[in-house]
Symmetry: C2
């Protein structure tokens, strides 16, 4: 329960009915796109500007409640799921692109701007914002920055962090700071911008975001290569990289995903396929033609049964269809769909696919895998039913093996979704106890009262080996866990 003083304080700051406490509102914001986790907040608040955010954060410190900043709620690791007695911060009206600076190749945006909206605005002036998460037509830049979102163009263009050049942040203590700026190179002091990117709402609330843009590629060519086996697809990927070609997109669908797609949409893909690759190269016209030709050649050498090269934007859209609908197609296969993003070094993708299949078979669950083969970021997807505890336990056991396999192959438990709630318990196995302690210490020193999205990333437990940092921590120890 929120205290009366806390609620009154919120109502005073967010006047004009911008504090929601009706049961249906609280249920609306109880979950995000992550299965298995839901919890209604105590209230939902819609701040109007950075000053209101700062006042709300200060109130949270004074009254001892937790804040959960939320973008579009499309996250897949539970980063935006409320913890008990918390207050969700919503930014529905913060959707303005404040400036596109063509001379400096930057954009200042509000955190509620939808990623696809920025794509369109940048492309209208011949510029390009590369990060393209699967949810780009609903997800927001604020959420992308909080999660360091990836996307289909990661191989060539990197993730969100490669495009965040500055941030206006309200710190967990309620102070506002501007980090970074329009100077491309800036080494004044510690790199706090990149500490904030991917901090999953635990270290600051972003109120304005300065993004780097690049010139829009002149053209793009799209190919679909069909294989009898994932091994052959993996060899093609290796051959393309060895050929010094860096496609913008290099996506893989395995057999189970292809069959689900066919059952769902009837695209005419042979259902005996072992794997397919969706490949896109972008850039200057002449270079793109050369690369596309070479990719077709290499794919055939390495066992592609068929390679289709789109001759028009419409054909390209057709070729992209299988990848685009993969998740929706799979989601029809079970009432509960667990989509993960275990990620390995590129060279380990074929071995990782084998281990994913083996884990599924061992635990008697169906796991289909698609994802970003070019950067090793795979999405093993399990169809299960959360109403059946035994089935769910089998799925969880399989994912435990899958995460262990990713780590054994030099990879990570999460390539682009974040740790959130869903993967907290796997974090120590990846980074080790000293690094977890270091992260917890950073959290504790920035957020001594644990007001910003506590309980995410780290499992409940000792926060820090040092003595508590401020008197308020004593009073509230354990509260927000």
């Amino acid at each position: 329960m929120l205290s009366r003083r806390a609620l009154n304080g919120l109502a005073e700051i967010a006047s004009g009915s911008r504090v929601l406490t009706a049961r249906e509102d609280l249920l609306t914001y109880a979950g995000d796109a992550t299965p298995l986790h839901r919890h209604p907040p105590a209230a939902v608040v819609i701040p109007r500007d950075a000053e209101e955010v700062a006042r709300i954060v200060r109130l949270a410190n004074e009254e001892g409640f937790a804040l959960v900043p939320r973008g579009a709620g499309s996250g897949l690791s539970g980063g935006a799921i409320p913890i008990p007695d918390s207050v969700v911060l919503l930014f529905p009206t913060w959707n303005r692109i404040l400036e596109i600076d063509e001379a400096n190749l930057t954009a200042w945006v509000e955190p509620g701007v939808v990623t696809g909206q920025l794509h369109a605005a940048a492309e209208a002036v011949g510029l390009f914002y590369p990060p393209d998460p699967g949810s780009m037509n609903v997800c927001t830049i604020g959420g992308n920055v909080a999660e360091n979102a990836g996307g289909l163009r990661g191989l060539k263009y990197g993730s969100t962090k490669n495009y965040v050049q500055g941030l206006d942040v309200v710190l967990p203590t309620g102070e506002g700071v501007r980090l970074g700026g329009k100077a491309i190179k800036d080494v004044a002091g510690y790199n706090l911008v990149d500490l904030m990117v991917g901090s999953e709402g635990t270290l600051g609330v972003f109120t304005r975001i300065l993004l780097r843009l690049v010139p829009k590629p002149e053209t793009v060519r799209t190919m679909l290569a069909l294989y009898d086996s994932v091994e052959a697809a993996g060899e093609s990927v290796a051959a393309i990289i060895a050929g010094k070609i860096v496609p913008a997109t290099l996506e893989l669908l395995d057999q189970a995903t292809i069959r689900a797609v066919e059952a769902f949409a009837g695209l005419g893909l042979p259902t005996d396929l072992g794997a397919l690759l969706l490949i896109e190269v972008d850039g200057r016209r002449h270079e793109v033609e050369q690369d596309a030709f070479e990719i077709v050649r290499l794919s055939r050498i390495h066992g592609a049964r068929d390679v289709r090269l789109a001759a028009s934007p419409e054909e390209a859209d057709d070729l992209r269809a299988a990848r685009r609908i993969a998740f929706s197609a799979l989601a029809r296969g079970g009432p509960t769909v667990i989509l993960e993003d275990a990620t390995v070094p590129r060279s380990a993708v074929p071995e990782m696919l084998r281990r994913i299949q083996a884990a599924g078979q061992r635990h008697g669950v169906t796991i289909a895998t698609f994802g970003h083969a070019g950067d090793g970021n795979l999405h093993p997807t399990c169809l299960t039913d959360e109403r059946d505890p035994a089935a769910l336990a089998r799925a969880e056991a399989a994912f435990e093996e899958i995460f262990a396999a990713a780590l054994a192959l030099g990879g990570t438990i999460t390539g682009e979704h974040g740790v959130g709630l869903a993967k907290r318990r796997f974090l120590p196995a990846q980074v080790g106890d000293p690094a977890v302690r270091l992260m917890r210490q950073i959290k504790a020193v920035l957020d001594p009262n644990q007001v910003l999205n506590p309980g995410k990333i780290f499992e409940p437990g000792p926060r820090c080996e040092h003595p508590p940092l401020g008197h308020r921590v004593h009073e509230r120890a354990g509260r927000a866990r």
Copy 2:
């Protein structure tokens, strides 16, 4: 003075004469490439492996002395200059390239590898390590990572931080951690890799470094454009960017620099030139030819008196000569040369050049400017004489104005050299007190006993608003400042 116990402890760890305390050795490591600052350490230690580094760091915590990790000593902000009673860590034998992984486009290297050595090794297998600091034939990867070094290819390729994918680090507490890895996308927990990059030796000692490589550009074209004024050069830069061309290199020399170069080397440049641009485009052959043609066209439209396009690698070397020798040529103009790296958004370069000239004139000092016009990273260089206190004071007053101008134009006090000792007092004006406090808190929590390169980045003063974090801090408060 180091205690007897500290010295004995060091001698025990770094056995076999790897602890240097002779006066001439201490003087050898008293400074780096930064003018005005020198101080001999109490000892110099050459560790053999990561375990020895960890033991030395633990000893420093126990015995209360400070460690100053040092690369090649080519830094320009004083990051490697010893503080009183400190111990310098040297890595002369840590110069192995441990692996170049062509499938994953990565290299594991030891911190003492010279940057140019990695360039050569990567290019031998058709790969490319883009960061190219001016000192690349002497500076080391360890130092580059500590300072987040830039270089001439920053506009297209970014800085060192864009290529660090993993680090083995000995933390200030003596624990070893591996951060990051070969998976390109990794969002598991806070981004500690990027916190370490550019931390100037204050947060950890790097014992192995995993770097990202890219395919080697197929070709490069080099151009030299000569202008009557810096304004005209600035307009060309803006036109190139507006034309959606991203050169690898876009370097500017102003009139004072050109005259110094001519006086030094007699390259045959007209001495009435107002500015020159060295421009390089790299990539695929066809694209590079197109871009070079367009750059020549745009430069002429925007007032270039002459544009020379190299027809061979030898001609390209000739065109690069002026830029390459700029610093040496300037250094002949005065016994003390202060080279700074005030940096502004690209669009503010012409205005910044005017303000630099005005500051020099106002304080009666000669300031020549060259640098990376494409990314706004300028090197105003003042020729003075440190034996003349009045002249030095005038130079410092001019730089104070120059830094203020950079900040007023939305820039930074340092684009690629770091804060170190030289720019500590300007940091708060750039990032603000709350961000400085946050940085100090991070330093305090990672390094409670202030053993790693204390006194760098931050001015002596309160370290942290919180109560001290560990008992040892009490005992040693103020010691290392």
